[in-house]
Symmetry: C2
Subunit: 267 residues, 2 copies
C-alpha cells in the first residue's frame, strides 16, 4: 500500500485522474472515477473498493470515510491526498466532493450476466444521455432487476455523469454491452421474453402477459427503436400518451414499464 500527498497541479497522477473524465482514456486504462463519500460507501458495501482513494487535505473527518480508508489500505490500495483546488481540477466541479475513488471497470460481456438471477432486466438501445443511463441503473436497483444491457452506441456507463446518476447502482447492477445481433443471439440461447416499448402492433402495457426473465427494451431518446428491432420482440406494449407529445423520456419509459412488470411477475 502507498500513501502520498500531491501538491502540484502538473503532477502526472493529477493528469491521470483527470484523463478518466474522458472515455478514450477510460477505455485505455480500464478504470473509472466515482466521486463522493456516499457513492464510495455504496461501493464498499457492495464489496467494491477503489484501487486508489483520493481525498482533500482539508476534508472533515467522517466515520464512513475512516472505515473506507482503512479498507482500502487493508486491500493494498493507494491513498492520495491533495489540496481541494487540485481535487476540483480532477473532478471538474467548482464544489467538489472531498473524496473520489478510482475503480477497475468490470466485465460487460453478456456472458458475464446470469439471466436466472432476476426476473427483470432493462435494455436500452442507443441511449445517448449518461444521466438517463445512470437513472435506469438506479431504477433497476429499485425494482430488483438483474442489470442494464446497452445495445449499439450508448453513453458510457462508466462516465462520471452516469456513475453519479446511478446513485451507487453501478455497483449493484449488472451491465452488459453488445451490438443488436450479438444481443439477440445471446438472448435466444436461453429463456427470456423481450418486451419493447412501442406504438406499433402493441398492447396496453397494463394488461400484457409479462413473463420472467423479462427484458424491457427502450429505444433512443429521439428516434425510438428501429422497426426491425421491435419486430424481433416477443411483446410490444404501449404506454398511454394523452398529450401532444408522442414519447416519454427514455428513463421514465423504462421505469414505468419496470414497475408494471414488477407488479405482474415480481422481482
Amino acid at each position: 500500500m502507498s500513501r502520498r500527498t500531491i501538491t502540484g497541479f502538473s503532477n502526472p497522477t493529477v493528469k491521470f485522474l483527470r484523463s478518466l473524465r474522458d472515455k478514450k482514456h477510460r477505455r485505455r486504462e480500464q478504470r473509472f472515477l466515482a466521486e463522493g463519500l456516499r457513492l464510495l460507501t455504496d461501493a464498499r458495501e457492495c464489496g467494491r473498493l477503489p484501487e486508489t482513494l483520493v481525498m482533500a487535505t482539508g476534508r472533515e473527518s467522517h466515520p464512513l470515510l475512516t472505515a473506507l480508508e482503512a479498507d482500502v489500505v487493508a486491500a493494498g490500495g493507494e491513498i492520495i491526498e491533495m489540496d481541494e483546488d487540485i481535487l476540483a481540477k480532477v473532478t471538474g466541479k467548482e464544489n467538489p466532493q472531498s473524496v473520489a475513488g478510482v475503480f477497475a471497470e468490470f466485465d460487460t460481456d453478456l456472458a458475464s450476466l446470469d439471466r436466472s438471477s432476476a426476473k427483470i432486466w432493462l435494455v436500452a438501445q442507443s441511449l445517448r444521455d449518461p444521466g438517463n443511463l445512470g437513472t435506469m441503473l438506479r431504477t433497476g436497483d429499485a425494482v430488483g432487476a438483474g442489470g442494464l444491457i446497452l445495445i449499439d452506441d450508448c453513453a458510457d456507463p462508466f462516465s462520471v455523469e452516469a456513475v453519479r446518476a446511478s446513485m451507487g447502482a453501478i455497483f449493484t447492477q449488472g451491465v452488459g454491452q453488445a451490438r443488436w445481433p450479438e444481443f439477440i443471439d445471446w438472448l435466444r440461447q436461453g429463456e427470456g421474453q423481450l418486451v419493447a416499448a412501442s406504438l406499433r402492433n402493441a398492447q396496453d402495457y397494463r394488461h400484457a402477459p409479462y413473463a420472467g426473465p423479462c427484458f424491457l427494451l427502450v429505444g433512443n431518446e429521439s428516434r425510438g427503436l428501429p422497426e426491425d428491432y421491435e419486430d424481433a420482440c416477443d411483446l410490444r406494449v404501449t404506454i398511454p400518451m394523452l398529450g401532444r407529445a408522442d414519447s416519454l423520456n427514455a428513463a421514465v419509459a423504462g421505469a414505468v414499464l419496470a414497475y408494471e412488470a414488477l407488479a405482474h411477475i415480481g422481482a
Copy 2:
C-alpha cells in the same frame, strides 16, 4: 413588425438574448428562450408564438420554419437573422439549433390554474435539477395532467435546460410556483387530494384510493419531503424499493405515481 440582420457579436440584441440564459435576467425581462424548430413548432401549435424569432442566416429552408416565420410576422413579432457563430453564442452550444425564439413568461400564480381542468396534477418540492423539472412537465403532458406546481425553491421552469427537457410540454402544461403554506391554502380552498410519495405511514402505491383532482407530490432529489409536508397530505403511498437505494430519481417517482393514478382515475 421588424426584420433585421445582426452581424456583430457585440450587438446589444445578442447580449440581451444571451442574458436570457441567466435566471436573474429572465426574471427582470420576463422573457425566456426556446431553441429548435421542433420546440418552436410545438409552441406554435399550442397557440404560443415567440415575440422574437432568431434564425441562422445559413439555415436550411423548412416548411415548418416558413410557416412559423409567417405567423410571427403576422402577429407583429420581430425576425432577426444572424450568422451561425453568433447564434451559437446566444444558445451557448457548439452545434446550435438554427432557430430560437424569445417568449414572454407566463403567469405562474396558483390562481392561474384551473384545478377542475384535469384529474392529475404533479407537484414538486425543492426540485433542483432543471432536467428533472422538464421531464416532469413532459410526463404531465403524457398523462393528461393539468400542470406542474413547484413548491419552495425549485429550478426555474423557464431555464433553457428545463424548456428543452420538457420537449414542448412547457407550452401545454400549466405551471404554478408557490411556497408551501400558500400552496396548502390554495389547495384547501377547493377539491383536491394531496398524495405524497413517502416511506412513512404509507400504503402500497398500487392499491391506494386515488381520487381526482389528485395532486401527486414528490420531494427534493436528495432530502425527499419534509415530515410535516408528508403529514399534511391526504394519502401517503410507497413505491417498492427492492435494492440498496432508498429512493428513485424524482422525475421517475413522479412518473410511476402519475401512471398509476391515471390507471385508477383516468385523465
